[in-house]
Amino acid sequence: MLGRFLALRSFYALSLLLGVTLLTFALMVWFGPDQTYELIGRNSTPEQIDELRAELGYDQPFWNRYGHWLVELASGDLGLSNRSGESVSTLLRRALPVTAALVLPGFLLGNLLGLAAGLWAAWRRGSLWDRLILGASVTGLSLSFLVIIIALQLLLCTPYGLNWFPARGWRMDSLGAYLLHVTVPTLALLLVTLGYNTRFYRAVAAEELQRDHVRTALAYGATPLSLLSGPVLRNCLVPVITRVLYSIPLVLVSGSLLLETYFGIPGIGRVTFDAISSGDQPVLLAVVTLTAALFVVVQLLAEFACRLADPRGRLP
């Protein structure tokens, strides 16, 4: 039974990976920008252009290129960046920790605070607290990430405002430097995710609080704290885990794009965006495959975690 399940799962994962790579390969490589004109020098002749295109492999038919890339991928070789010549795996190894360190505090805080506020608001549904929390989260939801970033940078990082933090850049050589650089992005991330998280967790908790078993627990004298931290939280775990896990690939790749662009942080989002805009295909394909793989892993993890969290779904 378990074997069959695993076989099905891995078949699905594989098909998903194939789908994602095919989609992105078609979009970003076949139709995407070609780097010829980024790489070609001044006063180039048509022959030189053809030569460079051949060197970049642009003259090959689609399936050849896709197949070739798949074979390389399968052998674990991500290739070299067309743009800088750096090996893609080195590039990713350098960029991923930066992004992780960049988004982790905001991500954790956003989820924890959101969960706390959401639970509290759901428990006091209809009260002033609830309305305040909801009002704040709707306000947060209505702020564009871009506006938040611009405003925060203006307020905290420039001579026009408090000028407490560096306007850009990234250092992780000491805890102090790290905190100095991560604070404003974290604040921005918090502001933009807290509203969503609070609302989501509140909705989940509110639904849970309406269930009969909560009423039963109350009828046997449960206190709010024991209820919220006990059965309610545990029953909310499935949506919470799912949400947290599923947002990881997005937060890692695209959630950080704007932050990294605006704060000049050499993370994965920036790397990806640069790769897209310059048509640096080896990097692009690696990132997308990585994202897809992350998604597949996350899906599996989410499934297992949910099965653990909820006995009803456990494997037979």
Binding site: L39, L80, S84, S87, L175, G176, A177, Y262
Partner: protein, 602 residues
């Protein structure tokens, strides 16, 4: 409540750590004394550090500090003067101007790198220079600089056609001995020595290319004044190359001008041996706001001031002077860029360029001239270049000896009435005017430039709907589109590779038509004759005449709306001893940077 206390704890931790962070930052600022570190900022990111790909000024900036070139520009001399760098002296030129003999300095070593057999950097030899030039002609290098030497060096192009086999000698590139190099040209090329001062001409050891291949883009194995410590898309860290040759800095020889360079502290450098700093950190900050605030709060010591900021920084624009409250901390230089911005017409497009039908051809010329007449350079200068740019007619910008101050400036002065009259005379009206497609890479400023242009055209009676934007997602896309002749109005900027008129006039030379640098595909027999005659001549009054004649053809045929030389406002910290230059010595200047007071008070 549980979460409540958690929250409080988290807040406390955060505040506490912030405090330490601020203290740390203060500490690190105080630590600036040793080692001596200078933090530069660039407004773009270099893609690759391989000299063969040093196409952008950002890449060039780093390459010139990491690799040696045979020649360089003197630090302070204006107009620019070439000086020997890796070469021991200026080249010996044969009488026919075709053979150059160059002697290399002895005892110059590459930095230590695992690419070398024993990990020790070996001596730089003439063979290395030959190899470095050859590899531009190897397709595997993906060189962006090959055009500098294309068709110029005897046998080099043939070498490429025969498969770029390094074992096969090139007749025009010979090592006479370990330290002597002979280069034979196919025809006189007066600008040739300039090409050897380019980033492209950085000398690369073959071992490094063999070991790293394309990855050389993220490593640097050179013999320049600095070694690369790390690089990513946000910053590069360079440290002093301890083995860099000891040469005495001669202030007078470098072109010191006591009046101009007064107060920069340059005199303190005289007689010392460069590089003067231990660490060179280069921050890549394309975002204007961030670059400015980083500079203002002291995180970087140099910045190019964004145009939008001019009002906040400059007390007056003619001449540009710094606001008094900034003068204490900063030094200002408002340097004209070598190069210019212009908009050319796609002459290959029968709607606006050359037409088979002579009548239409004439009407198209009138249309182009009307557009040129309608273009308000003054407003463009005011709004987008801070009002300090220099508008000039044609393609020979000021400060080149060939520039003619007496030239008629009519082509740069807006006259909507005259433009309307031109249109009417050529039978153009709102109904039969062609749709203009104006291309630009998507960015706010480019879009605003387009909107301004559309405004100018509306003022001469062009219907708004007939001026269409063609926005491209990236510069590469835009480049491809206009190189393939898909854009009618091509707005671009030309940055000169070397300070010689040949480099700008060639922009309209017929054989250079798209996809070459002549994006307008201007193909005028008179122009072509004049240019090809001038190209092989050394600077002389005769050459000047030819270039001026060619320039006039571009203006007469209204092939382009031109031009404006941007003036960059550069600021640097008063603690830094520096005479910056954006155009050519930008990279070379770093070896002469010093900090004013080694004890350090900041």
């Amino acid at each position: 409540m549980k979460s409540d206390s958690t929250l409080r704890l988290a807040l406390a931790v955060l505040l506490l750590s912030l405090q330490t962070a601020c203290k740390d930052a203060a500490d690190s600022a105080a630590d600036l004394t040793e080692p001596k570190r200078y933090v530069h900022s660039l407004d773009g990111v270099p893609a690759s550090l391989d000299p063969a790909q040093a196409g952008t000024r950002y890449a060039k900036f780093l390459v010139l500090n990491l690799y040696d070139t045979l020649y360089r520009y003197r630090y302070l001399a204006r107009p620019y003067e070439l000086a020997p760098n890796l070469a021991a002296a200026m080249p010996e030129l044969s009488k026919d101007g075709l053979t150059l003999t160059i002697r290399l300095k002895r005892g110059v070593h590459f930095i230590d790198d695992p690419a070398f057999a024993d990990g020790k950097g070996r001596e730089v030899t003439a063979q290395d220079v030959i190899y470095s030039l050859q590899r531009h002609f190897d397709p595997a290098t993906r060189s962006q600089g090959a055009w500098l030497w294309q068709g110029r060096i005897e046998g080099l192009d043939a070498w490429k056609d025969q498969g770029s086999n390094y074992e096969q000698p090139v007749s025009g590139l010979r090592a006479l001995d370990r330290h002597t190099l002979e280069i034979r040209l196919t025809q006189p090329y007066p600008q040739f020595v300039h090409t050897l001062a380019q980033g492209f001409a950085g000398v690369v050891p073959r071992e490094a290319v063999t070991a790293y291949g394309l990855e050389l883009g993220r490593r640097a194995v050179g013999s320049g004044p600095f070694r690369l410590q790390s690089i990513d898309s946000a910053r590069a860290r360079l440290v002093r190359n301890e083995r860099f040759r000891q040469e005495t800095f001669d202030l007078a020889l470098e072109g010191f001008d006591p009046e101009r360079d007064q107060g920069l502290g340059l005199t303190a450098l005289d007689g010392r041996s460069s590089p003067f700093i231990d660490e060179l950190e280069v921050e890549f900050i394309p975002e204007d706001a961030a670059r400015w605030s980083s500079f203002y709060s002291g995180l970087t010591q140099f910045t190019k001031v964004p145009v939008a900021q001019f009002g906040q920084v400059l007390e007056s624009t003619a001449p540009p002077t710094l606001k008094p409250e900034l003068q204490e901390r900063f030094q200002l230089q408002a340097a004209p860029e070598l190069g210019f911005v212009y908009t050319s017409f796609n002459m290959a497009d029968p709607e606006i360029g050359y037409s088979e039908d002579p009548q239409r051809n004439a009407r198209n010329r009138a249309l182009r001239c009307a557009i040129v007449k309608g273009f308000d350079w003054t407003q463009r200068n005011q709004r987008f270049f801070g009002g300090i740019g220099e508008v000039f007619p044609g393609v020979i910008p000021p400060r080149l000896p060939e520039y003619d101050p007496e030239q008629d400036r009519g082509s740069t002065e807006a006259d909507p009435a005259a433009a309307r009259a031109l249109l009417a005379a050529a039978d153009w009206d709102a109904g039969n005017l062609p749709v203009l497609e104006y291309g630009f890479p998507a960015s706010v400023t480019e879009r605003q430039l387009f909107e301004q242009f559309r405004g100018f055209m509306e003022a001469i009676g062009y219907p708004r709907a007939k001026i269409q934007p063609l926005s491209y997602a990236s510069f590469g896309d835009y480049y491809r589109a206009y190189s393939q002749g898909q854009v009618m109005l091509i707005t671009s900027a030309w940055t000169m590779d070397y300070p010689d008129a040949e480099n700008t006039v060639q922009l309209f030379y017929g054989p250079h038509r798209a996809p070459g640098a002549n994006a307008a595909s201007f193909d005028d027999p008179q122009f072509n004759t004049a240019f090809s005659a001038a190209a092989t001549l050394p600077p002389s009054p005769q050459r000047t005449e030819l270039y001026r004649a060619a320039n006039q053809r571009v203006i007469d045929e209204c092939a382009a709306i031109t031009g404006l030389v941007r003036r960059l406002v550069l600021l640097w910290d008063r603690q830094v001893i520096l005479q910056p230059d954006w155009a050519f010595v930008g990279g070379y200047a770093m070896r002469f940077v010093d900090l004013r007071d080694p004890a350090g008070q900041r």
